[in-house]
């Protein structure tokens, strides 16, 4: 295993690896395109390179290198994109990756993972290392509530039901899983039984769990800290609309850039709230009956 960092060794926490294994650490400098290409070359010689940077830079800035040198070559490279979502906070819109799922999940050969907490992130990282082929892992910057345990199963291509329910299903990934559980709790108090699915494997997608949710609950809301365009919601809609169409709502960022602010303030301003998710669930349940 080799780790490459683009001048963000401290922020991405690859510093520890660089200290412990300096001979297998590559400081690429602020040069993400070269970093991705070098990783492809390392992979072709049998290494398992992890390239690490903010997601706005990698896969943001080196998408063509990821597409051709890594994905088309099916090079065994892992792309770790940190500081995703509005929770990047004060750095503002330039540094808040809200498009990374869209730009990676459209690439053939690529696996896309968005774990929901630190425990699952560790599992996703190990699973990525064991998987043969390109993987993108999406990391959040802010402290995120821990909702899984060591015993929670994690497998590439699998989603899991975190809360049972029959009136509708919320399918969420990353930082939104906790919010989805809160929304389900709030809805329970209002008499609605809502299933919550944690969907860390955006590609390959667990079509079975999603189609089962459509069949058994008849309505789906997706929830992600990412643009509505091309994200988890799109992936779920592709599965639902072709296998078992049911009313759907997609909660995410509405085709707009973020701004500086505290994470919670930004979630409020840009509509990533329990109320918004709960409202979307009520809306799909209503449409289901009409």
């Amino acid at each position: 295993m080799v780790v490459l960092s683009a001048d963000l060794t401290e922020s991405t926490r690859t510093l520890e690896f660089s200290k412990r294994y300096p001979e297998r650490f590559v400081e690429a400098g602020v040069a993400e395109q070269n970093m991705a290409g070098m990783a492809a070359g390392l992979a072709m010689e049998g290494k398992i390179p992890f390239v690490s940077s903010f997601a706005v830079f990698s896969p943001g800035r080196n998408w063509d290198q990821i597409r051709v040198s890594i994905c088309y070559s099916n090079a065994n490279v892992k792309i770790a994109g940190s500081h995703t979502g509005l929770t990047t906070g004060g750095d503002g819109a330039t540094h808040q990756a809200l498009e990374d799922i869209a730009m990676t999940r459209c690439l053939p050969n690529m696996v896309v993972l968005a774990p929901c907490d630190s425990v699952e992130t560790k599992k996703a990282t190990l699973a990525a290392a064991r998987h043969s082929g390109p993987v993108y892992i999406r990391f959040a910057r802010d402290k995120t509530p821990v909702v899984t345990t060591e015993a929670t199963p994690f497998e590439i291509g699998k989603a899991s039901v975190f809360r049972e329910g029959s009136h509708a299903t919320i399918i969420a990934c990353g930082t939104m899983v906790y919010l989805a559980l809160e929304a389900a709790e709030a809805l329970a108090e209002a008499g609605f039984s809502v299933r919550v699915v944690n969907n860390p494997s955006i590609k390959p997608l667990d079509v079975d769990v999603i189609v089962a949710a459509a069949k058994e609950t008849g309505a789906i809301v997706t929830c992600e800290e990412h643009q509505v365009c091309g994200g988890l919601g799109g992936a779920v809609a592709e599965a639902v609309s072709t296998r078992f169409p049911v009313p759907m709502e997609i909660v995410g960022i509405g085709d707009i850039f973020g701004e500086s602010g505290e994470p919670q303030e930004l979630w409020r301003k840009y509509g990533l709230t329990v109320e918004r998710v709960a409202g979307a669930v009520r809306a799909v349940i209503e449409r289901k009956g009409s």
Binding site: G37, M38, K47, S69
Partner: protein, 290 residues
């Protein structure tokens, strides 16, 4: 290590054969790039038939020298050199750019054993070559990494990221062969996006530079030998070439960068190349005292 007059002539005959293969491939495909492949015929001849340690029967041989082709659009010359050195049947060259062919219009590593890399979008090859050099360094491997590049791709920022990285890391197992043919699609490089002083730029980023006549087999071989002897730096061999070399109506014409000749024009090209081949054969016979 110098090479005998006879060996130089025999390699010239091989380069002439590759040129005729290239013309036939382009005519058969009805599209493709003429200028670059014809201009690099001697360089690819020297690499495949004299300089590189490789085994066409065993394309994944761990100790082989690696050749990364960065400006993938000149792949016709690489395909011709590979077929003529025994990687695949010569007849297969005529499938170039056609459906179901292993010979893609821009090279794809997974399509053809021995191809080493995927390339097309300019500037991506050198980074991959560097990754392979880093892996050799980590594993204490002795293979050398060659990278064929174009002058036009020095417009790309990634090329300079990679050049600076290789210079800073003193990658002595890396040798590039730069096709300095002075043309790109929109015209002459010094009109479109001037690169000079190119040698000084390379030296400023800590490369050893050798400038040669890229059509002189002996100079190519000797430059590669010199590169092997340079221990503290990567080496760039700036190969001054004539794009379209060997076909009078293509030589130095930017319009022939990305075009294939018609059957009739192709026949004219083949006639000129056959005449040149005849001349080389006569010289060889004279040297042998036949």
């Amino acid at each position: 290590m110098t090479i005998s007059d006879l060996e130089a002539l025999e390699l010239e005959a091989t380069a002439n054969m590759l040129r005729r293969d290239i013309i036939r491939m382009l005519v058969s495909a009805g599209s493709g790039h003429a200028g670059g492949p014809l201009g690099m015929a001697e360089v690819f001849t020297a690499l495949y038939f004299r300089v590189m340690r490789h085994d066409p029967e065993n394309p994944d041989w761990a100790e082989r020298d690696r050749l990364v082709l960065s400006n993938g659009h000149i792949c016709a010359v690489r395909y011709a050199a590979m077929a003529r050195s025994g990687y695949f049947p010569v007849d297969e060259l005529l499938t170039y750019r056609k459906i179901d062919s292993r010979l893609q219009g821009h090279p794809h590593n997974l399509s053809l054993p021995g191809l080493e890399n995927t390339g097309g979008p300019l500037g991506q090859g050198l980074s991959q070559a560097i990754g392979r050099c880093l892996a050799a360094r980590m594993d204490d491997k002795r293979y050398r990494v060659f990278c064929a590049m174009s002058d036009g791709e020095h417009d790309e920022g990634q090329t300079w990221e990679a050049l600076m990285f290789a210079g800073n890391h003193k990658l002595r197992n890396l040798t590039t062969l730069l096709d300095r043919n002075n043309i790109q699609i929109d015209g002459h490089t010094e009109d479109v996006f001037p690169l000079e002083p190119l040698r000084a730029k390379y030296e400023a980023v800590k490369w050893h530079v050798i400038e040669i006549d890229g059509h002189n087999i002996r100079q190519i071989v000797e430059a590669c030998e010199e590169a092997k002897a340079v221990y503290e730096k990567p080496t760039a061999i700036i190969c001054h070439t004539v794009p379209g070399k060997g076909v009078d109506y293509m030589e130095n014409e930017p319009e022939w960068h990305g075009k294939a000749p018609s059957a009739e024009m192709g026949e004219r090209a083949l006639e000129q190349l056959r005449t040149e081949g005849e001349r080389i054969r006569k010289e060889i016979a004279k040297l042998r005292g036949l």
